[in-house]
């Protein structure tokens, strides 16, 4: 694969272009061209296709588009370009697995295959939730106590000394160090000190806080995962490359991350499908990742669970795992709040699409209005159960199940229901689940998911 030195050299020697020209004269027309050339067409009747030829065509289209469009570096106003051969070589040499964690919790995340009945990697939690200091450790301990959890995404805690830390401030450095230290301690309390944290440092917004909190004294290790993201669309800035330079130098797992925006420069379903695949290739080649976070998002609804986005995440995973075996973790942003039927049906539909298509899961994030303190461990148990159940199905078997789930929630996405907070469900001091109504509802939803055809079994 092309060396990292060569990659960063292209960020300073590539073609000069304004960002407006990059998108309007370069990126958008080339994307339209490949969609037409490869005749890629969204089909709303089959949100979860099982068409291998479609998956392979999408992969070819993505390689061609990436080789023609490249990525944009706003720090130098240059376009990083890579040839088809360089991209295909990276795809061939993509790391098919990544090893995370320590001791009994040291495990291997793999690139699975479509219709592969192996269990996916269960990555639980979420970095977008801001969480109060008083419940921060209880929430993480609750997640670490989920037996099947393979890794955690820790929430954000920007409070420091009773005030919110501002972006890139010294307070942010201190809040970041605090959140990492507390997360590791919470894992230890759950008896799983080696459980890997894959979202690195959610409280950090820039490299300074991230590097500071990566000091081994605070509990993170190279066997955790450190996220490096490109801004939508295909923006590779120096901050991202700084992180790659640092984390490759300490031999850490890098999680390349992308949020293609439905309704943005990629347009609709077909453009976002290609972009989702391209971001993974960018992750391998530019961000030197050992795993990738996929998080395509609807710009207006702020969710990933619409019918077109299910199609995108399903086909993108199929295209990747058939052609570039790079482990993916797939992040569902959901409309429904925690503990609502809308949330459960959305996450089940999303996981069914991901798991049968070869991907690994990250548990669902309620995202329409990101309420503080809404990371509720029992919801994440249900995410595991739904994903495990999906691994028993093929794509063909799962598609009608997904259609049934869509019937249940699709109409609610414009005005989704709000849900519970942690404090409404758990005793803050003991961490015990105390809300009987919430627990009863979880049992009812398990039965409802099963009735729709997802063979969910209660695990906790």
């Amino acid at each position: 694969m092309l060396s990292f030195y060569e990659v960063i050299d292209r960020a300073v020697t590539g073609q000069l272009m304004s960002d407006q020209d990059f998108y309007l004269k370069h990126y958008v027309p080339k994307l339209q061209k490949v969609i037409q050339k490869y005749k890629i067409k969204y089909n709303p009747d089959t949100p979860l296709p099982s068409d291998d030829a479609l998956a392979d065509t999408v992969f070819d289209a993505a390689v061609e588009f990436f080789s023609e469009a490249g990525a944009y570096c706003p720090d130098t106003s240059r376009v990083l370009r890579f040839s088809k051969e360089e991209i295909l070589q990276a795809a061939r040499e993509a790391p098919p697995e990544a090893t995370f964690g320590e001791g009994p919790d040291r495990m291997v995340m793999k690139s699975r295959k479509p219709d592969d009945h192996s269990e996916p990697w269960y990555h639980l939690g979420g970095g977008i939730y801001t969480t109060s200091e008083e419940i921060f450790m209880s929430v993480i301990e609750g997640l670490a106590n989920i037996r099947k959890a393979n890794s955690l995404s820790i929430p954000t805690s920007i409070r420091i000394k009773g005030k919110d830390a501002r972006v890139r401030s010294p307070q942010e450095v201190l809040a970041t160090i605090k959140s990492v230290t507390m997360a590791r301690e919470a894992c230890r309390r759950a008896g799983r000190p080696g459980l890997p944290i894959l979202n690195g440092i959610s409280t950090a917004t820039g490299p300074i806080s991230m590097f500071a909190a990566s000091h081994p004294q605070f509990g993170l290790r190279p066997s955790d995962g450190f996220l490096v993201d490109s801004l939508a669309e295909m923006v590779v800035d120096f901050e991202a490359l700084d992180k790659v330079a640092f984390y490759t130098s300490i031999g850490a797992n890098i999680g390349s991350t992308s949020t293609p925006l439905y309704g943005g420069y990629n347009g609709g379903s077909e453009g976002n499908l290609i972009a989702t695949v391209v971001y993974n290739l960018l992750g391998i080649l530019v961000f030197r990742g050992t795993y990738h976070y996929n998080a395509p998002l609807h710009t207006k609804l702020r969710v990933s669970s619409t019918r077109p986005l299910l199609w995108i995440i399903a086909v993108a995973n199929q295209a990747l795992h058939r052609n570039a075996p790079y482990p993916t973790v797939n992040l569902p942003y959901l409309g429904g709040g925690p503990g609502t039927d809308c949330y459960y049906y959305e996450m089940a539909a999303y996981h069914a699409c991901v798991v049968t298509s070869g991907g690994n899961i990250l548990s669902g994030h309620p995202s329409v209005a990101v309420e503080p303190d809404t990371l509720i461990p029992l919801d994440h148990v249900l995410n595991v159960e739904a994903a495990e159940a999906a691994s028993a199905l093929t794509r063909k078997e799962a598609n009608p199940v997904v259609l049934k789930f869509l019937e249940k929630y699709e109409s609610q996405l414009k005005d989704p229901p709000k849900g519970y907070t942690y404090q409404q469900c758990y005793d803050v001091e003991s961490g015990a689940l105390i809300n009987k109504e919430y627990v009863k509802n979880a049992d009812r939803i398990r039965a409802a998911l099963k009735e729709c055809g997802l063979p969910v079994e209660k695990s906790a």
């Binding site: 309007l24 501002r166 942010e172 801004l231 939508a232 309704g263 943005g264 420069y265 329409v368």
Partner: protein, 220 residues
């Protein structure tokens, strides 16, 4: 071509993102003696209205919005000087200064709102991303803005929205501008806490609410 035909074709040029056609048709409208204001309002703007509807229904997306806005601008390069020659001015819905607050480099959400504002008849001063609070305020004063739009995606950059409002208050000019906030991290509760006039969960809501609020203000 008859007047009606030219106006119809001007509308179509917007729908087809045909910059060259829009420019030629604008020249033709002027040559045919059509009131340039009519060419704008009954031709180009009708096209923009349809573009707005199509965007709302997920039939078109950001690239098409940008292309429609560029087509409109190209036509206006012909029509605007003629309107000025007549001593007239095109009615704007309002003047807005818009940007992503200090420390936040997210771009697309802000781009979508500014384009929808433009295509629905607002004059927009897009300040870009990571914008210093004084740049918002000085620009708003300079262009005599009706509204300041502050976008923030990250929880830790929300304070940038509050800083602008606090400074406007401190300088005694808070009432002069409508302040609207939006972006991934904002909520209605946050907007109320910091004293913003308007919270919008997405671009269409921003356009709708701002249009209504300005109408109400002008009635007073």
């Amino acid at each position: 071509m008859h007047e009606e035909e030219i106006l119809e074709k001007l509308k179509d040029s917007i729908l087809q993102f045909d910059e060259e056609g829009a420019s030629e048709l604008s020249k033709e409208a002027v040559a045919a003696g059509i009131d340039p204001l009519k060419a704008v309002d009954d031709g180009l703007v009708k096209g923009l209205d349809i573009i707005g509807e199509k965007y709302e229904n997920d039939e078109i997306f950001l690239p098409e919005l940008m292309m429609a806005a560029n087509t409109f601008q190209t036509a206006m390069q012909v029509l605007e000087p003629k309107i000025m020659e007549m001593g007239k001015e095109r009615t704007k819905k309002g003047i807005v200064v818009f940007g992503t607050v200090k420390g936040d480099i997210h771009k697309i959400g802000k781009d979508i709102v500014t384009l929808l504002l433009k295509t629905s008849g607002f004059e927009v001063n897009d300040l870009g991303e990571d914008v210093d609070l004084f740049t918002f305020i000085e620009t708003a004063k300079k262009v005599n803005a009706d509204a300041i739009g502050l976008s923030a995606l990250l929880t830790s950059t929300l304070s940038g929205q509050k800083d602008v409002i606090d400074t406007l208050t401190q300088d005694g000019i808070r009432e002069k501008f409508i302040v609207m906030v939006g972006g991934g991290a904002t909520t209605p509760e946050w907007a109320e806490t910091i004293g913003a006039d308007l919270y919008a969960e997405n671009a269409q809501v921003a356009v709708r609410k701002l249009t209504q609020m300005l109408k109400n203000r002008r009635k007073k």
